[in-house]
């Protein structure tokens, strides 16, 4: 038999296979990835693309019943086979029904970006073994990464999919707060219909591809761009700095705005965009970028904090002397004197590296011109800030810009900054055609913000009776080439470096320093996780020097309602740190006893250790206004529209804010219709960051809900204690046995189209900090403490975390399942930060060199929820999103020390660093001997 003749390139084949039980025929080039064909040609966008390289498993589909990565299947190899995507799993009841329900019930989907892959992989397993063991579940899910959940709830959901499930909780009126309510946007996440940044695009949208600087620093010159456009059929235009209408710089903090859409003449970091190419999708994707007419002249970059601060170092921004972006400072008491008089003093230095957010959804979106305005639909954490910056870039009024946030497949801070938005907006604006851009994983890691590398020096002192007397803390943060959230980190860290303890004498000084590296920005905790790594390891050392139990030392020094913080703030109520620490006591003693017993008899290289760390974190902006406005409307059909602009990036604000509003209105939660954070229809709720949405937007929602209830009661001339029953098209108001019906259709509609509307704005009460950083930086703090139990292989320097116990004071647990989800997910990121995560600019811009915890790395996490209500927060609630990540890494690092006696001063604690520390300790010991 003869071979079929080679199919020449650019020729498309007609290929037939089965998708979700239906035969399909597609015309595609044979090497096209199956993901592409499924998503773009067949419209099955439930299958996600997180890496295009086999590393994340988001694209998992079944090929003849076996899970494969659709991103690595050339479509020609699918010919004649049977493909099942997440959309097709619905055809597999009852197993899949149970699996979906279990996912919802257990909160196994947060942002949902990994969920389709998880569901497909789990289905393949369950169809083989209906009642798998935990390790079989872990093996089966081992190829799908999740950045949000910490995996444990997913494992539980798969294990329980075999069992009969209870129906989802549906609380009655007035009881939503505190209920383990299934997330309101959950169904879309478990059936694959949720729309993320890359999942929608107008017909005939042009594709946008960025030309980015391949060097840390380079001058550049373009060749003949017009010739490039004319000689490449399908390419419509190239845009560069000269095509940007707005000349002002943009940036997330207006007073530090220093970014332009494209570098001009000189690029300041590897990955900075210098141009975009816009054209038809196939033409843009087929481009050989090596032939793009740009000549790079590589320049010597400044990559370290030291080099940047060197006297006479070249300035990365002419206006910023010594390359210092800005600094922060909090001073209280007399630290020098306190340390001089302290009975014990510990001095130490710590260093951390860049950390990548590694959400599973790379940035994506599209823009289209609508008359004299522009619409941008993209994944974002901050629609109104995007609106302001796009307006600046296009030099148009903000109300000409409409931002339509899609579901966000994980953000963790990085999607606060602009990514694709300026590029698609510019292309659509100039060409008057819709334009779309989807970052590759490489591009996402290359060009988006990171966690700041930190270098921290500490001196801490205590008196013989175990009281902390002083802490002197200084830190430099490598903030990269542009400001991004550097100023926020510099300001927030000095307020938090004491930890949740009474430190009467205190000095904390920070600097954010520019280098020619990717900008460091916002990442869950704004510098506080790095700080806790240093401060909590130093406190362990102090306790050891004092001969005190490490937990009791912290309990002794814990802040209380009446003690001043390092900024002189007295919170008065809601300081739950002591309760958190005390909640760890039972596990602390038991775990320490178990570890001691294990080590006493250990003959092999494994040693056990137990460590803990405390945390506090102020909710909302540091001493700056950050209001949220929520609008609630009663519709003529008796349903309630909740306009809440807090973008749900997986953390659950869609659900939490509704729960709060429902209880404030005393209305059943099923009556609510969520209206998205689209800037055209929903007021500004600020950004989803700084753990502010439950607290700030939640509070605004509570106020708006109360207002709407009051308005309804007024309609009925009823008093405050009347009960309202919501019916279709009708309300029943009952007061003291008197019942009356309000027929909604008879009422006039207001400007929003509702029968009644209420709007409320909440801005947390704070005050500016003085030159010593004294004042009220936050209205509310969240508190917590984690305990980590580990086993370390001392021959290899590898660490296995066996168990995490996490106590958090959340004020009021609005939805315990979602809070546990935040805690477990935070612990997973903390574990990654402690043990494996470090990004090296220029190396490993992908998800196999950049390691994040996979399912096998996550131990069980026991969450203990403490409810010491905040007097300000809605129903007493505080934030949890960032709080959860902070204490895990220091707890693990303290456990490593507990197990081995070595202290890891440079994170992550990778095998090479741990081994080097163990060897160094052995050498000093043998020298002494």
């Amino acid at each position: 038999m003869l071979a079929t003749p080679p199919i020449p390139r650019d020729v498309q084949l007609s290929l037939s296979f089965t998708v979700n039980g239906k035969p399909v025929t597609v015309v595609a080039s044979p090497g096209e990835r199956l993901t592409r064909v499924l998503r773009e040609d067949l419209g099955l966008t439930g299958t996600k693309v997180g890496c295009d390289a086999g590393d994340c498993g988001a694209c998992t589909v079944l090929l003849d019943g076996e899970p494969v990565c659709a991103c690595l299947v050339p479509v020609a190899q699918a010919e004649g086979h049977e493909i099942t995507t997440v959309e097709g799993l619905a055809g597999r009841p009852p197993l899949f029904d149970r699996l979906q329900k279990a996912f919802l019930q257990h909160g196994a989907a947060q942002c949902g970006a990994c969920t389709p892959g998880m569901l497909v992989a789990a289905t393949a397993l369950l169809e083989k073994h209906e009642h798998p063991a935990e390790n079989e579940v872990m093996d089966a899910l081992g190829g799908v990464l999740c950045r949000c959940t910490g995996y444990r709830k997913i494992i539980t959901a798969v294990l329980e999919a075999g069992a009969e499930n209870v129906a989802p909780v549906s609380p009655t009126s007035g009881c939503a707060v505190g209920a383990r309510l299934v997330r309101l946007d959950g169904q879309r996440k478990v059936d694959g219909t949720e729309i993320y940044g890359a999942d929608e695009c107008p017909e005939a949208a042009l594709a946008v591809r960025a030309i980015r600087c391949p060097h840390h620093r380079a001058r550049f010159q373009f060749g003949d761009l017009d010739e490039f456009v004319t000689s490449h059929p399908g390419i419509h235009a190239i845009f560069t700095a000269k095509d940007v209408p707005g000349k002002a710089c943009y940036g997330v903090i207006p007073s530090f705005a220093d970014q332009t859409v494209f570098a001009e003449n000189e690029a300041r970091f590897r990955g900075e965009a210098v141009a975009i190419v816009v054209g038809e999708q196939a033409a843009v994707e087929g481009l050989d970028l090596a032939s793009f007419p740009v000549a790079w002249d590589e320049l010597e970059p400044i990559t370290t904090i030291d080099a940047a601060l060197e006297p006479g170092a070249e300035l990365i921004h002419a206006s910023r002397p010594r390359n210092v972006l800005t600094g922060g400072r909090v001073v209280r008491g007399d630290v020098e004197r306190a340390l001089a008089e302290a009975d014990v003093v510990v001095e130490d230095e710590y260093e951390t590296g860049f950390v990548e957010h590694a959400y599973i959804e790379p940035e994506a979106g599209f823009a289209r011109r609508v008359g004299d305005g522009i619409e941008v639909q993209a994944c974002t954490q901050s629609p109104y800030m995007d609106r302001a910056d796009i307006a600046k870039i296009l030099d148009i009024a903000p109300d000409k810009v409409r931002i339509i946030p899609t579901a966000v497949g994980g953000g963790f801070g990085s999607k606060l900054d602009l990514s694709v938005q300026p590029f698609v907006a510019l292309a659509a604006w100039h060409l008057n055609k819709p334009a779309r851009m989807v970052y590759s994983r490489f591009e996402s890691i290359l060009s988006t913000t990171k966690r700041h590398p930190a270098r921290m020096r500490l001196r801490a002192g205590a008196s013989r009776d175990g009281k902390l007397v002083g802490l002197d803390f200084s830190a430099d943060f490598n903030t990269g080439a542009y400001s991004s959230w550097g100023p926020t980190v510099a300001a927030r860290v000095p307020v938090h470096a004491s930890g949740p303890y009474q430190v009467p004498n205190y000095r904390a000084v920070t600097r954010a320093v520019h280098t020619h590296l990717v900008p460091a920005g916002a990442f869950r905790g704004f510098g506080v996780p790095q700080t806790a790594i240093a401060q909590e390891q130093v406190y362990d050392q102090l306790a050891d020097r004092l001969g005190m139990d490490r937990l009791e030392f912290r309990i002794l020094n814990a802040l209380d309602d009446h003690s001043p913080t390092v900024t002189g703030q007295v919170l008065g109520a809601g300081v739950g740190i002591r309760a958190c620490l005390e909640a760890l006591r039972p596990r602390w003693s038991a775990a320490r006893a178990e570890a001691t017993a294990f080590n006493a008899t250990a003959t092999g290289p494994i040693r056990r250790g137990v460590g803990m760390a405390g945390m506090w974190y102020g909710c909302g902006n540091t001493s700056l206004p950050n209001p949220s406005t929520v609008r609630v409307g009663l519709k003529a059909d008796g349903r309630i529209a909740l306009h809440q602009g807090a973008v749900d990036i997986g953390q659950g604000s869609n659900t939490i804010v509704t729960q709060i509003c429902a209880d404030a209105m005393q209305a059943p939660i099923e009556r609510f219709d969520l209206v998205s954070g689209d800037t055209a229809i929903t007021p500004d709720c600020g950004k989803t960051s700084a753990s502010r949405q439950t607290f700030v937007t939640g509070k605004a929602a509570a106020m708006a809900g109360e207002k709407l209830r009051a308005a309804i009661l007024q309609l009925a001339f009823a008093g405050e204690n009347a009960a309202i029953r919501f019916r279709d098209h009708c309300l029943e108001v009952e007061e003291g046995g008197r019942k009356q019906a309000i027929h909604l259709a008879q009422l006039p509609l207001d400007e929003f189209g509702y029968v009644a509307t209420a709007e409320a704005t909440f801005d947390p009460p704070t005050s500016p900090l003085d030159e010593n950083g004294q004042g009220v930086p936050y209205a509310v703090f969240g508190f917590g403490a984690h305990l980590a139990e580990i086993a370390i292989d001392t021959e290899l320097g590898t660490v296995q975390v066996l168990r995490i116990t996490a106590a958090h004071d959340v004020g009021r647990a609005i939805n315990p399942t979602l809070i546990e989800g935040q805690i477990e997910g935070g612990a997973a990121q903390g574990l990654g930060h402690a043990l494996m995560e470090e990004f090296f600019p220029g190396k490993g811009e992908n998800l196999h060199d950049y390691l994040i915890p996979s399912v096998g790395d996550m131990p069980p996490v026991e969450s203990i929820l403490i409810e010491d209500p905040s007097p300000v927060g809605p129903f007493g609630a505080k934030g949890i999103g960032e709080q959860a990540v902070i204490p895990t890494a220091p707890a693990i690092l303290n456990a490593i020390h507990d197990a081995t006696g070595v202290r890891i001063r440079r994170v992550p604690a990778t095998p090479d660093r741990i081994r080097a520390a163990i060897l160094a300790a052995q050498n000093t010991r043998s020298h002494r001997a």
Partner: protein
């Protein structure tokens, strides 16, 4: 991804004829798990892809007098589930089960695994197998080499051989069978890997128009084999070091040994030094340690990877002890 021709031959002979006799023009496509990633980043830019998945003869596991014959298109998942492999070559089955993820194992073929390209981040960034900058400076030596070679790294190659299943195959004495326009040949698997001397060479003893057709593992009569790998994460990342050991015991002492390291050198790295150190010794902690020291005696770490010497040493030691304790 650039455009390319695509062809699906149904026999090895046709496939060989469709392949170019010089590297760079054509590539074999099997499971695609490595090749598609390389093509996406323009690390390889073939003008034609020869899809061999339609060649039915290359599939499946058979056993005959030469031992176990694994067709090059057999997937890693099929190998891991094969009763014969699990029963007769448990250490190989274990290595396969630990590789990659279930999804990848369902797609990745054994032939592709043997022929997968190095994971060196300079190579994957398109800077070549022997990356140098314009001035001729060696990028790995001067740069970030934390994951690079500690043995066989005198240059110019400093990447590490990526497969985690090849060391144990070598320990079992596996052979690889190839077919090209000039016919068939068979090589001991360790001879299939070579250290490239120039950027035009490959790291395999494979002609551009040759195809790996099968891997043959001789009967493991009397050999006790173990595989040990050290990964930073619990699963699904690249190991830092791998060791595979086969022991033939004579009573309580080692009559013959095969010790092969992985992820430490540009090729899988058999260690005659360790084998010699074990010969005639009892297989215990002490002899395992000495053999491990011997295996790493010639290690020459680069600026950032000295830690790998210790990891590899421990991997060898533990693999020896595991082999001594376990069945074949």
């Amino acid at each position: 991804m650039r455009a390319f021709d695509y062809v699906s031959p149904t026999s090895t002979r046709q496939a060989a004829n469709l392949l170019s006799s010089t590297w760079g023009n054509t590539e074999i496509l099997a499971g695609g798990t490595d090749l598609l990633a390389l093509m996406k980043e323009d690390v390889v830019t073939p003008k034609r892809l020869v899809n061999i998945k339609e060649i039915a003869d290359l599939r499946g596991v058979k056993s005959d007098s030469s031992g176990l014959r694994i067709g090059s298109l057999t997937t890693l998942a099929e190998v891991a589930e094969d009763a014969g492999v699990r029963e007769k070559y448990p250490a190989f089955a274990e290595a396969v089960r630990e590789a990659a993820s279930p999804q990848i194992r369902n797609m990745a073929t054994v032939g592709g695994n043997l022929c997968q390209r190095p994971r060196c981040w300079y190579f994957r960034n398109g800077l070549g197998l022997l990356p140098k900058d314009e001035s001729g400076k060696e990028l790995v030596e001067e740069g970030d080499n934390r994951y690079h070679a500690i043995l066989g790294n005198d240059g110019p190659a400093r990447f590490v051989s990526p497969s985690t299943i090849v060391p144990v195959l070598i320990a079992y004495g596996a052979k690889v069978r190839l077919e090209g326009p000039k016919g068939k040949r068979e090589l001991p698997l360790e001879k299939f890997y070579v250290i490239p001397k120039t950027d035009r060479d490959r790291e395999h003893d494979l002609l551009p128009n040759e195809i790996v057709t099968e891997v043959v593992i001789p009967a493991a009569n009397g050999w006790k084999v173990a595989h040990y790998e050290i990964r930073q994460k619990a699963a699904f990342d690249w190991p830092l070091a791998v060791a595979a050991v086969a022991l033939k015991m004579d009573g309580s002492s080692v009559q013959a040994a095969r010790v092969v390291l992985g992820h430490v050198a540009p090729t899988p790295w058999p260690s005659p030094q360790a084998e010699a150190a074990l010969k005639g010794q009892p297989a215990n902690e002490d002899s395992a340690k000495k053999a491990a020291d011997a295996a790493l005696a010639n290690a020459k770490p680069l600026s950032q990877n000295a830690y790998k010497v210790q990891l590899a040493r421990v991997a060898v030691k533990r693999a020896i002890l595991k082999a001594a304790g376990g069945a074949a």
